[in-house]
Symmetry: C2
Subunit: 140 residues, 2 copies
Protein backbone atom coordinates (compact mmCIF):
# COMPACT_ATOMS: atom_id res chain seq x y z
CA UNK A 1 0.00 0.00 0.00
CA UNK A 2 1.55 3.30 -1.13
CA UNK A 3 0.55 6.32 0.97
CA UNK A 4 1.44 10.02 0.97
CA UNK A 5 4.08 11.41 3.31
CA UNK A 6 3.15 14.45 5.39
CA UNK A 7 4.95 17.76 4.77
CA UNK A 8 6.87 17.19 8.01
CA UNK A 9 7.98 13.71 6.92
CA UNK A 10 9.07 15.08 3.53
CA UNK A 11 11.15 17.85 5.10
CA UNK A 12 12.69 15.46 7.62
CA UNK A 13 13.84 13.17 4.80
CA UNK A 14 15.22 16.10 2.77
CA UNK A 15 17.09 17.52 5.77
CA UNK A 16 18.56 14.15 6.74
CA UNK A 17 19.66 13.24 3.21
CA UNK A 18 22.87 14.12 1.41
CA UNK A 19 22.32 12.36 -1.91
CA UNK A 20 19.63 13.27 -4.43
CA UNK A 21 18.91 12.38 -7.99
CA UNK A 22 18.59 15.65 -9.84
CA UNK A 23 16.27 15.72 -12.83
CA UNK A 24 16.28 18.36 -15.53
CA UNK A 25 15.21 18.61 -19.15
CA UNK A 26 18.02 18.56 -21.74
CA UNK A 27 16.85 19.27 -25.27
CA UNK A 28 13.37 17.95 -24.51
CA UNK A 29 14.67 14.73 -22.92
CA UNK A 30 14.66 14.02 -19.20
CA UNK A 31 18.17 13.88 -17.73
CA UNK A 32 18.92 12.42 -14.27
CA UNK A 33 22.19 12.46 -12.32
CA UNK A 34 23.14 11.78 -8.69
CA UNK A 35 24.20 14.89 -6.77
CA UNK A 36 25.25 15.64 -3.20
CA UNK A 37 23.30 18.43 -1.58
CA UNK A 38 22.64 20.37 1.59
CA UNK A 39 19.02 21.35 2.35
CA UNK A 40 18.41 24.31 4.66
CA UNK A 41 14.64 23.84 4.97
CA UNK A 42 13.87 25.99 1.94
CA UNK A 43 16.53 25.41 -0.68
CA UNK A 44 19.00 22.84 -1.88
CA UNK A 45 22.61 23.90 -2.28
CA UNK A 46 24.59 21.90 -4.83
CA UNK A 47 27.95 22.24 -6.51
CA UNK A 48 28.96 20.64 -9.76
CA UNK A 49 31.69 20.76 -12.33
CA UNK A 50 30.56 22.52 -15.51
CA UNK A 51 29.05 20.09 -18.00
CA UNK A 52 25.88 18.80 -19.54
CA UNK A 53 23.55 19.16 -16.55
CA UNK A 54 24.65 22.74 -15.86
CA UNK A 55 24.22 23.65 -19.55
CA UNK A 56 20.78 22.01 -19.53
CA UNK A 57 19.66 23.87 -16.38
CA UNK A 58 20.91 27.20 -17.73
CA UNK A 59 18.79 26.60 -20.85
CA UNK A 60 15.73 25.32 -18.93
CA UNK A 61 15.82 26.10 -15.19
CA UNK A 62 12.96 23.75 -14.22
CA UNK A 63 14.51 21.04 -12.08
CA UNK A 64 13.58 18.47 -9.47
CA UNK A 65 15.49 16.69 -6.74
CA UNK A 66 14.36 13.21 -5.73
CA UNK A 67 15.54 11.85 -2.38
CA UNK A 68 14.73 8.41 -1.03
CA UNK A 69 15.33 5.90 1.73
CA UNK A 70 14.98 2.40 0.35
CA UNK A 71 15.14 -0.51 2.75
CA UNK A 72 13.58 -3.06 0.42
CA UNK A 73 11.24 -3.38 -2.57
CA UNK A 74 8.33 -3.19 -0.16
CA UNK A 75 9.62 -0.69 2.39
CA UNK A 76 10.71 2.69 1.05
CA UNK A 77 10.09 6.43 1.09
CA UNK A 78 10.62 8.88 -1.74
CA UNK A 79 10.32 12.66 -1.83
CA UNK A 80 10.22 14.82 -4.94
CA UNK A 81 11.00 18.53 -4.67
CA UNK A 82 10.48 20.72 -7.72
CA UNK A 83 11.91 24.17 -8.15
CA UNK A 84 13.99 26.55 -10.23
CA UNK A 85 17.72 26.53 -10.90
CA UNK A 86 19.48 29.63 -9.59
CA UNK A 87 23.23 29.89 -10.09
CA UNK A 88 25.12 31.45 -7.21
CA UNK A 89 27.52 33.80 -8.98
CA UNK A 90 28.10 36.63 -6.46
CA UNK A 91 31.61 35.93 -5.11
CA UNK A 92 30.84 36.38 -1.40
CA UNK A 93 27.60 34.42 -1.57
CA UNK A 94 29.31 31.68 -3.58
CA UNK A 95 32.10 31.40 -0.98
CA UNK A 96 29.51 31.09 1.82
CA UNK A 97 27.52 28.48 -0.10
CA UNK A 98 30.64 26.46 -0.91
CA UNK A 99 31.73 26.58 2.75
CA UNK A 100 28.30 25.29 3.77
CA UNK A 101 28.51 22.43 1.25
CA UNK A 102 32.07 21.51 2.23
CA UNK A 103 31.20 21.50 5.93
CA UNK A 104 28.60 18.83 5.15
CA UNK A 105 31.08 16.87 3.02
CA UNK A 106 34.48 17.16 4.73
CA UNK A 107 35.97 14.48 2.47
CA UNK A 108 35.49 16.79 -0.49
CA UNK A 109 37.70 19.52 0.91
CA UNK A 110 41.04 18.07 -0.28
CA UNK A 111 39.54 17.63 -3.75
CA UNK A 112 38.33 21.23 -3.76
CA UNK A 113 41.79 22.38 -2.63
CA UNK A 114 43.43 20.55 -5.52
CA UNK A 115 40.97 22.19 -7.91
CA UNK A 116 41.55 25.64 -6.34
CA UNK A 117 45.33 25.21 -6.64
CA UNK A 118 45.14 24.17 -10.28
CA UNK A 119 44.81 27.35 -12.31
CA UNK A 120 43.85 25.30 -15.37
CA UNK A 121 40.96 23.46 -13.71
CA UNK A 122 37.42 24.73 -14.35
CA UNK A 123 35.71 26.25 -11.30
CA UNK A 124 32.84 24.28 -9.84
CA UNK A 125 29.42 25.80 -10.41
CA UNK A 126 27.40 26.46 -7.25
CA UNK A 127 23.63 26.58 -7.51
CA UNK A 128 20.54 26.72 -5.40
CA UNK A 129 17.13 25.16 -6.04
CA UNK A 130 14.26 26.48 -3.93
CA UNK A 131 11.88 23.63 -3.06
CA UNK A 132 8.72 25.19 -4.47
CA UNK A 133 6.59 22.03 -4.49
CA UNK A 134 7.36 19.03 -2.31
CA UNK A 135 5.52 15.71 -2.36
CA UNK A 136 6.37 12.31 -0.98
CA UNK A 137 5.14 8.74 -0.83
CA UNK A 138 5.98 5.65 1.15
CA UNK A 139 5.29 1.96 1.16
CA UNK A 140 5.56 -0.33 4.13
CA UNK B 1 38.58 12.74 -11.42
CA UNK B 2 35.37 11.80 -13.26
CA UNK B 3 35.86 9.51 -16.27
CA UNK B 4 33.57 7.83 -18.80
CA UNK B 5 32.47 4.23 -18.38
CA UNK B 6 32.89 1.90 -21.35
CA UNK B 7 29.81 0.44 -23.04
CA UNK B 8 30.63 -2.91 -21.39
CA UNK B 9 30.84 -1.31 -17.92
CA UNK B 10 27.53 0.49 -18.51
CA UNK B 11 25.74 -2.71 -19.55
CA UNK B 12 27.24 -4.65 -16.66
CA UNK B 13 25.90 -2.08 -14.20
CA UNK B 14 22.46 -2.06 -15.86
CA UNK B 15 22.24 -5.87 -15.87
CA UNK B 16 23.34 -6.15 -12.24
CA UNK B 17 20.99 -3.47 -10.96
CA UNK B 18 17.39 -3.78 -9.90
CA UNK B 19 16.65 -0.20 -8.82
CA UNK B 20 16.63 2.79 -11.17
CA UNK B 21 15.50 6.35 -10.93
CA UNK B 22 13.16 6.88 -13.83
CA UNK B 23 12.99 10.38 -15.28
CA UNK B 24 10.23 11.69 -17.48
CA UNK B 25 8.78 15.07 -18.39
CA UNK B 26 5.43 15.92 -16.80
CA UNK B 27 3.86 19.12 -18.12
CA UNK B 28 7.27 20.52 -19.01
CA UNK B 29 8.78 19.74 -15.60
CA UNK B 30 11.23 16.93 -14.94
CA UNK B 31 9.76 14.17 -12.78
CA UNK B 32 11.87 11.48 -11.10
CA UNK B 33 10.76 8.37 -9.22
CA UNK B 34 12.49 5.19 -8.03
CA UNK B 35 11.45 2.04 -9.93
CA UNK B 36 12.43 -1.59 -9.87
CA UNK B 37 13.40 -3.00 -13.24
CA UNK B 38 14.76 -5.95 -15.14
CA UNK B 39 17.21 -5.25 -17.99
CA UNK B 40 17.59 -7.87 -20.71
CA UNK B 41 20.55 -6.24 -22.48
CA UNK B 42 18.35 -4.15 -24.75
CA UNK B 43 15.31 -3.00 -22.81
CA UNK B 44 14.13 -2.28 -19.32
CA UNK B 45 10.97 -3.97 -18.12
CA UNK B 46 9.09 -2.10 -15.42
CA UNK B 47 5.68 -2.38 -13.81
CA UNK B 48 3.86 0.36 -12.00
CA UNK B 49 0.48 1.18 -10.60
CA UNK B 50 -1.38 3.72 -12.76
CA UNK B 51 -0.65 7.28 -11.68
CA UNK B 52 1.22 10.44 -12.46
CA UNK B 53 4.35 8.91 -14.01
CA UNK B 54 2.34 6.64 -16.31
CA UNK B 55 0.12 9.55 -17.38
CA UNK B 56 3.22 11.68 -18.00
CA UNK B 57 4.92 8.98 -20.11
CA UNK B 58 1.77 8.35 -22.14
CA UNK B 59 1.71 12.10 -22.94
CA UNK B 60 5.47 12.37 -23.60
CA UNK B 61 7.20 9.00 -24.11
CA UNK B 62 10.77 10.31 -23.80
CA UNK B 63 12.17 8.75 -20.64
CA UNK B 64 15.48 7.91 -19.01
CA UNK B 65 16.56 5.41 -16.38
CA UNK B 66 19.50 6.29 -14.16
CA UNK B 67 21.24 3.47 -12.31
CA UNK B 68 24.14 3.92 -9.93
CA UNK B 69 26.46 2.23 -7.45
CA UNK B 70 27.51 4.74 -4.83
CA UNK B 71 30.11 3.69 -2.28
CA UNK B 72 31.01 7.20 -1.14
CA UNK B 73 31.03 10.85 -2.30
CA UNK B 74 34.31 10.13 -4.06
CA UNK B 75 33.72 6.58 -5.31
CA UNK B 76 30.69 6.01 -7.48
CA UNK B 77 29.40 4.99 -10.91
CA UNK B 78 26.29 6.22 -12.67
CA UNK B 79 24.72 5.14 -15.94
CA UNK B 80 22.01 6.99 -17.83
CA UNK B 81 19.94 5.15 -20.42
CA UNK B 82 17.54 7.14 -22.58
CA UNK B 83 14.74 5.66 -24.60
CA UNK B 84 11.07 5.60 -25.41
CA UNK B 85 8.15 4.45 -23.27
CA UNK B 86 6.29 1.51 -24.78
CA UNK B 87 3.33 0.11 -22.86
CA UNK B 88 2.97 -3.65 -22.99
CA UNK B 89 -0.73 -4.11 -23.58
CA UNK B 90 -1.00 -7.39 -25.52
CA UNK B 91 -2.29 -9.88 -22.91
CA UNK B 92 0.15 -12.73 -23.65
CA UNK B 93 3.16 -10.42 -23.90
CA UNK B 94 2.10 -8.63 -20.71
CA UNK B 95 1.82 -11.94 -18.83
CA UNK B 96 5.32 -12.97 -19.98
CA UNK B 97 6.77 -9.57 -19.02
CA UNK B 98 5.11 -9.65 -15.61
CA UNK B 99 6.40 -13.19 -15.00
CA UNK B 100 9.91 -12.01 -15.87
CA UNK B 101 9.63 -9.06 -13.45
CA UNK B 102 8.19 -11.19 -10.66
CA UNK B 103 10.91 -13.82 -11.05
CA UNK B 104 13.45 -11.06 -10.38
CA UNK B 105 11.46 -9.78 -7.38
CA UNK B 106 9.99 -12.83 -5.65
CA UNK B 107 8.92 -10.73 -2.64
CA UNK B 108 6.50 -8.86 -4.88
CA UNK B 109 4.54 -11.97 -5.81
CA UNK B 110 2.28 -12.00 -2.72
CA UNK B 111 1.49 -8.33 -3.32
CA UNK B 112 0.67 -9.00 -6.96
CA UNK B 113 -1.54 -11.90 -5.88
CA UNK B 114 -3.47 -9.64 -3.52
CA UNK B 115 -3.94 -7.13 -6.33
CA UNK B 116 -4.99 -9.86 -8.76
CA UNK B 117 -7.54 -11.20 -6.25
CA UNK B 118 -9.01 -7.76 -5.59
CA UNK B 119 -11.43 -7.06 -8.43
CA UNK B 120 -11.58 -3.40 -7.39
CA UNK B 121 -7.84 -2.83 -7.52
CA UNK B 122 -6.38 -1.13 -10.61
CA UNK B 123 -4.17 -3.37 -12.75
CA UNK B 124 -0.48 -2.59 -12.77
CA UNK B 125 0.81 -1.07 -15.98
CA UNK B 126 3.69 -2.96 -17.60
CA UNK B 127 6.05 -1.06 -19.86
CA UNK B 128 9.29 -1.44 -21.71
CA UNK B 129 11.96 1.19 -22.38
CA UNK B 130 14.52 0.33 -25.05
CA UNK B 131 17.94 1.69 -24.06
CA UNK B 132 18.56 3.75 -27.19
CA UNK B 133 21.45 5.84 -25.82
CA UNK B 134 23.54 4.71 -22.86
CA UNK B 135 26.28 6.75 -21.20
CA UNK B 136 28.05 6.37 -17.90
CA UNK B 137 30.62 8.04 -15.68
CA UNK B 138 32.59 7.08 -12.61
CA UNK B 139 34.75 8.67 -9.98
CA UNK B 140 37.34 6.90 -7.83
Amino acid sequence: MITALSEKECHSLLRGGRLARLGCVAGGFPYVVPVNYVFDGESFLVHSMPGRKVEAMRADPRVCLQVDEIESHLRWKSVLACGTYAEVSDAAERARALACILSAFPHLTPVESVIADDAGAPSPVVFRVRAERVTGVKEG
